[in-house]
């Protein structure tokens, strides 16, 4: 028998050939490796949400090993002395055990909660980026809708998760949620009773929320996120305008290796920040809230921040009760408008916005280049209006804490919120619009007259003028100014942003390498590199 020589170095190659023989993956793999992604810091905001979702899955699975989704009454006998002997639900007791009697359980629970807050925060910040740069325009309307749905599904995920420990604070939240469902005309009581399995709180809601929180909602989130990413991949990422960038191309880096490496590193950074938050900052100290009891409440009972705007709208709502005098009489309680109708309108408006704008502008073209917020004052101003609306509501959601800590009257805070909700958004619209126009004008001014140099010259007639550095060569205009078109990208406003100076020399205290040659402008001598220093010992020249 002839013994074949085993060639270790050739093994990966052979294996690769074997795989390709069977699956024909070489060409698709090449396409994947070659995908080009544009690089800008604001394109990384969505990744924060994606990565915190992964952390949520990881920590969440850990929590399910110890959490018991049951409302059976037990007497706590764990190691947290101030609650020993207190009757409570099994869900709350197991959450306490998770915090005190499972080694490292508390850091996991806190990481999970912080990751949830970060997930929602990153979604909102990412959404603002997409909105203000016009990235939602055709062909990306679908992805905008999926993104808005992700916010609302994330909202549900957060609320169900927040309710699971069955502590005093979350139970109060659940009580309000049941009241919100109850307030829906006609079907309210049926809906509430069906969800809670009878009168509030019943004995089953925690198990139902549990399965929604660990299976149904994450499944939905996963599906939506996959679709979201798939569409980004298929439609290719938008990019900022700039040299060489057109509506028909993507200028950036190929996905592998550098881009992917940076993504991997960023994931670790997000994970690390969540771990630091989870360890160093206490979140939701359920042991202080006590078990949920229908007669116990704490001052400053707030939901998590992404629900706070609803709490705010509820607080600001005047006591307008609608009575319908038919038969025994029917009621639409004031709670219905700010908690059911308002979110409904918000969902509708936010998902439909791309179509509303396109219709308004009669714009049916595809857009792959982003817009600077200042260049679309109307949209930016509408966005500012929406943000200020949301902020007023969110602040009102915590108005008792603000009232207490800043010693303002609580009633005054409520009135300030009511007035603010009506006054601040239009004001924000106006101010933003004017700001955008001002910024636009300044851009045009710099393009036409050049950058301010800070040099003041006295004219023979005694006037003082500032010398401007034109951005382009003179082209026969009497004042020596050239005409430059605005291309939708940053206009240099300072001398050291002009790009005439060439890339900075690397090295912190002394140059560690020869500077690259500066681009040569016609009519100017090339910039001489600095003389080399002895520390530069590479022995290789660049050219």
């Amino acid at each position: 028998m002839k013994r074949r020589k085993f060639d270790l170095a050739a093994t990966p190659g052979k294996a690769a050939v074997g795989v390709d023989d069977r699956f024909q993956v070489a060409t698709p793999l090449r396409r994947l490796l070659n995908k080009v992604f544009p690089d800008h810091w604001s394109f990384l905001l969505g990744e924060i949400a994606l990565f915190s979702f992964i952390v949520l899955l990881l920590t969440g699975v850990f929590l399910t090993f110890f959490y018991e989704p049951a409302m059976t009454e037990v007497v706590y006998d764990g190691s947290y002395a101030p609650l020993q002997g207190t009757p409570m639900s099994a869900a709350y007791a197991s959450s306490l055990d998770l915090s005190f009697d499972v080694r490292g359980g508390l850091v996991m629970r806190q990481m999970h909660h912080w990751a949830a807050l970060l997930f929602m925060a990153a979604i909102v910040v990412h959404m603002l980026r997409v909105f203000f740069t016009g990235a939602f325009r055709k062909p990306r309307e679908t992805n905008w809708i999926i993104g808005s749905l992700l916010f609302w599904v994330g909202f549900l995920a957060g609320f169900t998760g927040y309710s699971l420990p069955d502590d005093g604070l979350s139970g109060t939240g659940l009580r309000i949620a049941s009241a919100i469902m109850l307030s829906i005309p006609v079907i309210g009581s049926w809906l509430t009773s069906s969800i809670f399995g009878g009168e509030f709180p019943g004995t089953i809601i925690i198990s139902r929320f549990f399965i929604a929180h660990v299976l149904l909602i994450p499944g939905l989130l996963l599906a939506l996120i996959s679709a979201h990413l798939g569409l980004v991949f298929k439609q290719k990422h938008t990019q900022w305008p700039g040299p060489g960038r057109t509506n028909g191309n993507v200028v950036g880096e190929r996905m592998f290796p550098r881009y992917a490496l940076k993504q991997g590193g960023f994931f670790m950074v997000v994970f690390g920040v969540i771990a630091l938050l989870g360890g160093l900052f206490q979140i939701n100290p359920i042991w202080l809230f006590g078990p949920y009891e229908a007669w116990v409440v704490s001052a400053a009972s707030q939901p998590d921040w992404y629900v706070m705007f609803l709490d705010g709208s509820t607080r600001l709502m005047p006591a307008w009760e609608l009575n319908i005098p038919i038969g025994d009489g029917y009621v639409i309680p004031p709670l219905f408008w700010p908690t059911v109708v308002l979110p409904g309108i918000l969902v509708g408006l936010s998902t439909m916005y791309p179509f509303l704008e396109a219709r308004h502008l009669k714009d049916r073209k595809s857009h792959n280049l982003l817009q600077r917020p200042r260049d679309v004052p109307a949209r930016t101003a509408v966005g500012a209006m929406a943000v200020s609306f949301y902020v007023v509501l969110t602040l009102s959601g915590g108005n008792d804490v603000i009232a207490d800590k800043f010693q303002i009257s609580l009633n005054a805070m409520t009135w300030a919120g009511r007035v603010g909700l009506l006054v601040v958004p239009p004001l924000a619209y106006y101010v933003t619009y004017r700001l955008c126009l001002g910024l636009q004008q300044h851009d045009r001014e710099v393009l036409a007259h050049g950058v301010e140099t800070g040099i003041i010259r006295r004219l023979p007639d005694g006037r003082f003028v500032e010398v401007h550095q034109p951005l382009s060569a003179a082209n026969g205009h009497a004042d020596g100014h050239g005409e430059l078109d605005y291309v939708g990208w940053v206009v240099p406003k300072k001398m050291n942003r002009l790009g005439a100076l060439g890339p900075a020399v690397r090295g912190f205290f002394y140059p560690i390498e020869k500077p690259v040659e500066a681009p040569v402008s016609p009519g100017h001598p090339p910039v001489e590199p600095r003389p080399e220093r002895a520390e530069i010992g590479s022995g290789e020249s660049r050219h």
Binding site: P82, W287, V401, L410
Partner: protein, 279 residues
């Protein structure tokens, strides 16, 4: 229901590692104290106690009341009037408020009032402990009322934090918040933070119901239960550095929401600025 409750308490006691029998004995003692306090309170508000009744647990300090009157006539008479009958529009009558009220208001610096506003604020006290006692004695002898027992500073020595926690959540947390940090009430009034309060001040506040705080007399919350509540406040809320890192001021989810933006999002935005920046 009662048997249910007995079982619960028994369990509680067992978990605390304290024999149930002793707890029962304590309860009987508690009942006696309650009865006594009820008798005291029944006549408390509008009748003047005979000095002899006072003598039982608070032997009169000879001359202390007179010293207190001297202080009163200098510092308090403007608002509360001669003989503490009150001045319309300035200060309420102090007849029947008891030494507990004086002890709370004066030792926490709330009185003398700096200016008329929605609610008095805690300030560095003007009077020494001795002077507070003299003032209290004076007001006590004017019209009777609730008294914080003894002169000891520590009133929660054998309080039970678990029982105190339960009482705290049902009676206190709605205004003073789960962490004892206080909360807002209507129109600029507020429930103050419990953190600077001493044992005696908390006790006095429960007994006397200062300003808008409801009164928790000894019939409702026995001295023993008061000790439990104080133990929970002092040992769990104030001393116990509970696990999980910096507590963000215990303002609930509001500061957590602030933190995720100010810490989480800001840190990560800086990271992404660096990642995508031109090197």
């Amino acid at each position: 229901m009662t048997s249910d409750n007995d079982r619960r308490r028994g369990l509680l006691a067992r978990l605390r590692g304290r024999p149930a029998a002793r707890s029962r004995g304590r309860r009987r003692l508690g009942a006696a104290v309650r009865l006594f306090a009820a008798l005291m309170l029944a006549g408390g508000a509008y009748t003047v106690f005979a000095p002899g009744a006072q003598a039982q647990d608070n032997p009169p300090l000879t001359g202390a009341a007179a010293e207190g009157k001297a202080l009163f006539d200098v510092s308090c008479v403007t608002c509360h009037g001669r003989n503490a009958q009150g001045v319309e529009g300035r200060g309420p009558s102090l007849i029947g408020v008891g030494a507990a009220s004086v002890e709370f208001q004066v030792s926490s610096g709330r009185m003398p009032l700096a200016r008329q506003e929605a609610q008095a604020h805690r300030k560095p006290p003007v009077f020494t402990d001795e002077q507070v006692r003299q003032l209290g004695q004076y007001v006590q002898e004017l019209g009777g009322g609730p008294v914080v027992p003894g002169t000891e500073d520590n009133l929660h020595e054998d309080g039970n934090v678990a029982a105190g926690g339960e009482l705290f959540r049902i009676n206190c947390s709605q205004c003073h918040a789960f962490g004892g940090g206080g909360g807002a009430l209507s129109s600029g009034k507020f429930a103050p933070s419990l953190h600077p309060a001493t044992d005696r001040q908390i006790y006095a506040a429960m007994l006397s119901g200062p300003q808008n705080m409801p009164v928790f007399g000894d019939n409702q919350i026995t001295p023993e239960q008061k000790a439990d509540i104080i133990a929970y406040i002092q040992e769990t809320l104030k001393t116990d550095q509970d696990p999980g890192g910096f507590n963000l001021g215990r303002y609930g989810p509001s500061t957590e929401g602030l933190a995720i933006f100010l810490v989480g999002i800001v840190a990560l935005v800086f990271a992404s600025l660096w990642i995508a920046g031109k090197s």
